[in-house]
Symmetry: C2
Subunit: 313 residues, 2 copies
Amino acid sequence: MRERVMMAVEELGYQPDMLARGLRMGRTFSVGFALSNISNPVLAQFVTGAERRLREHGYSLLLTNSEGSPELDADQILLLGRRRVDGLILSLAEEHHERTVDVLRHMRIPIVLLDRDVPEGVIANCVTFNHRAGMGMAVDHLLKLGHRSFALLIGGPDRPARERRLAVEDTLERASVGATVVVYDGDFSVERGCQATLNVLSARPRPTAIIAGGNMLMHGALQAFRDAGVEVGRDVSFVGCDDVAVAELHRPQISVVKRDLTVAGEKAAELLLATLTSPSVGILGGMKLELPTEFVARASCSTPAGRAAIDET
Amino acid sequence: MRERVMMAVEELGYQPDMLARGLRMGRTFSVGFALSNISNPVLAQFVTGAERRLREHGYSLLLTNSEGSPELDADQILLLGRRRVDGLILSLAEEHHERTVDVLRHMRIPIVLLDRDVPEGVIANCVTFNHRAGMGMAVDHLLKLGHRSFALLIGGPDRPARERRLAVEDTLERASVGATVVVYDGDFSVERGCQATLNVLSARPRPTAIIAGGNMLMHGALQAFRDAGVEVGRDVSFVGCDDVAVAELHRPQISVVKRDLTVAGEKAAELLLATLTSPSVGILGGMKLELPTEFVARASCSTPAGRAAIDET
């Protein structure tokens, strides 16, 4: 009998109604994925890793894009909640945005945050990067080349910006060589990166080393160098973040603090799956997985005098 | 009474259960979005446009990523069907893959294809690009500069590759100046673009103009030029596809055939919404919206002798 049923199933191409099945089990087997900006190439890598792992476990992704707006973050999270997702993976536009935090405090499903500190009163796990390690190495490299005057482009109040800034300031202070840094804070858009870099380039005295604390800021900085006719690695030394295509293909190649966002996506999915599949033993919040960053020295860094010093590294 | 209910709703922060509401209406207000490869930057733009328009109309995106695998395409579409999505937007890894086509033939929901010809027996609308216009202009530009020996890197059997190839061959034939093209066909990955370009560069006689028929192939070609120490715009002329960051930031800047993927995403969503919101007048298939492409001449193209000729355009 069982065999005949299975044959009929095969023959008729019967497909189970997953939605109905899920609802009977009190689950939708879907995970809400709120992205701050899908056009950010590192977030595309993050989605790739998370989607792969969730798919392997029978979960689908409900994706929303906040286009960089914290207000939209809050709306999108509410919407995902109303759609009865089993859990949330969030790359927030702004971790301390009041309405977003308020919405998150009322969520009763597992949440994993990407590279954000968990706001007070929110129950969530998170996957973060050790930005200080890679950024500290970058500053050490520039100090060793002889740089004493730095500019740092940074975006917003969130964890990555905070950690990168602290790494730069701490490393310079510990070196005790009288090095200074001027911080250009703002958002982390391409446009902001371009404008801030043009400001740095017109400052007198001009910093000899510029660090862009984000891949979109790096993209903007490279536009500014091009538009201003500044030769990176000769006229100024430059370090960016994330080993995206523009860093690798630039001539000269750009030194970067790099990290693996695909692995971060996989790990975020695994943290979520652990709480979804064994709710009795699952920990809803408080877990924090830190992933490493590293510094890759390339020809965009040289001595302040401009001699290419990549061979020394 | 109504007012008091609304006040209570406001006060309690009542949120309707959209899933339950949708099921009562026989709808899930979700759209399945099967992407061949989310790491392709132009597909991220496409998602941005589609998500924005669908969100405005109360629909959510169920996103899947096939990582370039046609087998996975078919699985993902089946999965989205079992999740009872109201419609599908598809960027297929391979439009004529037998199993994918078979799965699509059995779908009974509205489908919009991105830049693919609709396979026989499949009911779908599509948003396409007029690749011939932009690519024809690119070839005309290179012919006017004096090039007679071309190499074309192309990926796979799908519509964009076919149309780009036909544009190159037709334009050369109509010019009747004895120009020839060698076609390097394969997949459209970065790796393939790099390897094919290295092959072109070692061919004797070496083509004086290289065209990459896709943004990932362009990315690979730029790696090959760098690794081989070839100066684009002097040693060889080069045209790529899509105005992505690597084209804009390259020195010299890369001439490209460009198109607006964000608008394509918006239009794909609108085509789908038209059939979803007015099913009685909606047309399930047969509509085809063609969007323009254009050619942007930049310093990566010069005369075969190598003189920069960007000023002549």
